[in-house]
Amino acid sequence: MTPWAYIPQLFSAGITIGAIYALVGLGFVTIARASQIINFAQGEFVMLGAMITFFLLKGGGLPYPLAALVAVILVVIIGFLLHITVLYPLRKASIPILLMATLGASIFISNTTALVFGTLPRTLPAFLGNQPLQIGGIFIVPQSLFVLGATFLLLISLYLLSHRTLLGKAMEASSTDPLGADLLGISRNLMVFLAFGVSAGMGAIAGIFITPIFYTSYHAGTLIGLKGFVAAVLGGWGKNSGAILGGFVLGVVESLSIAFIPSGYKDAVAFVILLLILYFRPKGILGSPFIDSRRW
């Protein structure tokens, strides 16, 4: 069989993983829209969501939806804690310090998870069984459809949050002009705090939806987080739609690459794309509201 025969199948797999990159990328964008911080611990939220759900399900014996809900709430609390304990004290620090602090938090979270939950890779049961559906010549796991549905719902609710509520406007304002927002009585720290909660929750949901298809383990978060960031930059840094588009493009390209190059090089594909996009079009496919004005 030529590699071309696999392409539809790989394409559908790429869409699924792309949805996850999109969700993680959205998490990055949410925080960046409220402040200039880039939270490199974002991938850990994905891993934590899946890990906590697994242990509530297996150890606590909670029903699946309840376990998932509790896990999301716990991860949101962890996100809040991350802001209060690490980023709030460093709110006036320079970029290298913030970068190192979030990377340090990422090391701490992933290795504490290994300590508490063990180092074995874990998986969650699929929501509706593992019987693949056959559509045309492609096999699709039902879980993929759930992943796509969740991405779509989260995107809509995030859009409504940022464009249709006062809170979203306030977040946007504190990002665009911190001083002006302060003068209008918008607490910048509160906005960043809330953004951390929202992005942690999105990460946790992404983790819970993806884990039935891909295993998760304590160190899986870093790479997913980085690729989510690549997705957000690829689509257009600072735009929700950019993160979604970038996530799907990245997922599909990465998945299709398996057909043509040795699979060991798969993880490098995302970073090669990153270097190319940063070199030729740093503002991403859809353009970025941040890059030109702030000269990042």
């Binding site: 320079s94 970029i95 938090a105 290994a114 690549v230 490098a268 270097l275 940063l278 070199y279 990042w296």
Partner: protein, 361 residues
């Protein structure tokens, strides 16, 4: 740079006053710096040098020697990065990749082609610098987080290539049996000899950096770090200066990598991941950016810390992450800087007053 309200004495400073009092005697005096002739060899340098020479002889403990060898290698890495991060003000999360390139160049040249280690030592730096030139040329137009991300991407690509090209690098298994460093028939085969080798190289590179910082190029680094726009208006070619700092940092990493290969006699891709890049940046930040002795102190401190934490096995990495965060929160501009400002100011106030008066005469 020094914020005036940082000079105030706070009650919680008492917590670390006592153990650090001795340190305050040998740390540089921030208020004398601008009065001192820069090129003069100072008493403090003699103190450091004597301490370095005598340290392994006073403690004949092989573990300590090995630790100091690693600290020296890390210090070379941190020194190179400090030119890029501390002086030119750019972030690189891919510095470990240049270290890896140095290690693999030495490993491949010595084991496959039988080159002497001394030749491989220079070749490593050259290959690292050449690659840094090729990589840096396109990506150094980025700034801040995006530069960090791009260099991180380069580091990850390097790791994947090393893991996958089995015929050249031995894949995940790596390369074994790299010979000891030898020069004119003298082989550095014990930890004690390696200690003097590593720190000798470090002192050479330190002198090079000190002169570099005082040269036109070094002043340009500082100008670029302060404001790229202002630097370009006075005729500094910002892109070239950044590229220069990047290439010099990479060459330092190449030297460090070569020494590392000769000391450990193995090359393994797991050594050059993101964790090493994070560690090097932490050394520079904790030592204090824009200071050449800082990264060396930071390297010794963090190498020692990692070694101590290694004893706690599975608890080591969580504690490590926690300590990194705590150090960043309490000393965001470097341990030395904070010490200079708070402690030395407090404790040796009167002594320094006399010295300052003397210097002003």
């Amino acid at each position: 740079m020094v914020d005036t309200n940082q000079k105030e004495f706070r009650k919680r400073d008492l917590l670390y006053v006592v153990p650090l009092w001795l340190l305050s005697l040998i740390l540089p005096d921030p208020h004398l710096d601008h009065l001192r002739k820069e090129s003069r060899f100072r008493r403090r340098d003699l103190f450091y040098l004597g301490g370095l020479l005598l340290l392994p002889l006073m403690w004949p403990d092989t573990h300590l020697h090995h630790l100091m060898v690693l600290a020296g290698i890390n210090a070379i890495l941190a020194l190179g990065l400090s030119l890029f991060l501390g002086y030119a003000g750019q972030i690189s999360l891919g510095h470990a990749a240049f270290f890896g390139i140095g290690v693999y160049t030495t490993a491949i040249l010595t084991t496959r082609y039988g080159f002497p280690t001394f030749v491989a030592f220079w070749a490593s730096a050259l290959v690292s610098a050449a690659l840094a030139y090729l990589i840096g040329k396109p990506i150094l137009k980025l700034k801040g987080y995006f530069l960090a991300l791009a260099t991180l991407g380069f580091g990850e690509i390097f790791l994947v290539i090393v893991r996958e090209s089995h015929s050249l690098t031995g894949g995940v298994i790596g390369i074994f049996g790299i010979p000891w460093f030898s020069l004119a028939g003298f082989s550095f085969d014990t930890y004690l000899k390696q200690y003097y080798l590593t720190w000798g190289v470090l002192i050479g590179l330190l002198l090079f950096s000190k002169n570099l910082i005082r040269s036109k190029i070094g002043r340009a680094f500082l100008a670029v770090a302060t404001s790229e726009d202002a630097a370009s208006t006075v005729g500094i070619k910002v892109a070239q200066i950044k590229l220069g700092a990047f290439v010099i940092g990479a060459a330092f990493a190449g030297f460090a990598g070569s020494l590392f290969a000769c000391v450990m006699s193995t090359a393994n891709p797991e050594t050059f991941g993101l964790n090493l890049s994070v560690l090097i940046i932490m050394m520079v930040i904790l030592g204090g950016m824009g200071n050449l002795y800082g990264p060396i102190a930071g390297a010794i401190f963090l190498t020692w810390l990692v070694d101590i934490l290694g004893k706690y096995q599975e608890y080591s990495l969580p504690i490590y992450g926690l300590i990194l965060i705590l150090l960043l929160i309490s000393f965001p501009d470097g341990i030395g800087t904070r010490l200079n400002i708070r402690l030395i100011y407090l404790i040796s106030y009167f002594g320094r007053k006399k010295r300052r008066e003397k210097a002003e005469l």
